[in-house]
């Protein structure tokens, strides 16, 4: 399913078609691929830089053992605005790495990797990603509560109350993201990102 066109309210639609009761494929969050996101939203050098940072962050997550999960993409990066987005808003639903199943272990992993996991300010500066994580290895009720919160937060524009959609992409590497990163980097002026 291709990424739907933005609405007159300059955001993703909450659903495609005549109503929200159709196929789940036609409802937000839209399950898409990395290359679809790059092709649709990588329209300027600035945006390509952000996407390259996001791909590097995804690679860093996988290198730390986060290979199972998915990410919701929302915010100004997937909207039409007069100004360039500062970063890409990503909520990452993550299962803990196999070797870090306990709270103590995952806590130590976070502490040891602040620029990838813990320090949001640093992650934004280094990877252009506003990183928020939901612990899929935590309590079922906890996942339900926090998913409800982010769904409400991301499904409406704050100022206009317009109902809007978002994107979902698996964390598993179904595409050659390294190649996509190279292509992105090459297409950015001077090969810098």
């Amino acid at each position: 399913m291709p990424i739907p066109a933005l609405t007159l309210d300059n955001c993703l639609p909450p659903f495609i078609g005549d109503g929200p009761g159709d196929s789940s494929l036609k409802m937000s969050p839209y399950v898409v691929s990395i290359s679809e996101i790059i092709n649709r939203f990588g329209t300027t050098e600035h945006r390509k830089c952000i996407l390259a940072g996001w791909l590097r962050h995804r690679k860093a997550l996988r290198n730390l053992g986060f290979t199972n999960g998915f990410q919701w993409i929302d915010g100004s990066f997937v909207e039409r605005k007069a100004t360039e987005p500062r970063d890409i808003d990503v909520v990452s639903f993550l299962y803990r790495p196999h070797e870090h199943q306990t709270v103590e272990a995952i806590s130590a992993l976070f502490a040891a990797n602040p620029d990838i996991l813990l320090n949001r300010t640093r992650i934004k500066a280094l990877h252009h990603v506003d990183f928020l994580a939901i612990d899929l290895s935590g309590s079922t009720e906890g996942v339900a509560h926090v998913t409800s919160y982010f769904t409400q937060l991301f499904s409406h524009q704050r100022e206009s109350f317009v109902w809007k959609g978002m994107l979902s992409v698996t964390l598993d590497e179904n595409e050659d993201e390294s190649e996509l990163l190279v292509q992105l980097t090459d297409s950015i002026n001077g090969g810098e990102s």
Partner: protein, 307 residues
Amino acid sequence: MIDKIQRDHIVADIAALDSLLKCITDNDFMTRISLESRRDELKEQLARMQVNANPMASAALFFGGRPVVGRRGIESEFGANAIEKFQEMVSLVAASRVTDLKTSGPVPLKSNSQLHITHVLHGSFGFQLEEIDQQGQIFDTDLKESVDKTTELLSAFEEPKDESFLEAIEDIDERVLQTVKEFFELMAAKGATVRIVSGEVDKTFDDASVALAVERATMTELKERIQPLNGLLAGVLPAHRQFEYESIEYGLIYGKIDKQISDEQVINMNQTWTGRDSSAIFLVKEFSRRGKVYRQSYKMLSIQERR
């Protein structure tokens, strides 16, 4: 977005996060880290807002009731008339701060109080009105003070007690009172409700409140007269431009000092006039409702030696 509305959203979001953090377990490690980080970020944003408050005039008017169709639309004639009345009130308040208003005719200095519709707001259907920034402003503009004063006056019409209402409108000009009456009469005639947000004011007028506001604006009679009195100045508060005067005719009266008396003169009044026989001229405003005088206010216009 209006500062207060944005602040309210952030405060609500922080409350939601605090509630969420109480619901999750210690095992929800990554979730807890993220929620705490987001909460701390919002608190910092809130603190920055309180330091960097917008010095420009802004107000939000949300309308509901018969003229509004959900979030989709508002009757164009009603919307235009309501905004026009609000702008007129702001212009009259702004003008009354620097000059005396005539009972009719063009509003003085109207071009200095021009607001612009900058956004359409939803939930119900509303308009954001703002002062367009021509040059960088650091301190609150005159127009911001006038808009804040206007919304404070309007919110006074929703005060539960008549005495509180009359105290709140003590300084109101007769022509401003008339325009307020026209505003609420428009709401009542169209079966409309209104929510007004500006500065720290966030007031909603439902059907009953609109009816009360119309009644108050209609039945509140404001009479003004110039009253010379003899007595002794008891003292002034120069920073607040307030006086106390022990008059022979009415006993102790108090009120504000009119702007035609300069700040320098006000500062010297305690030294020059306290305890000395004097004659002073006051603008007396008498507020009546249903024929009963509820409140009198005094404004000192001049003071001189008693002959």
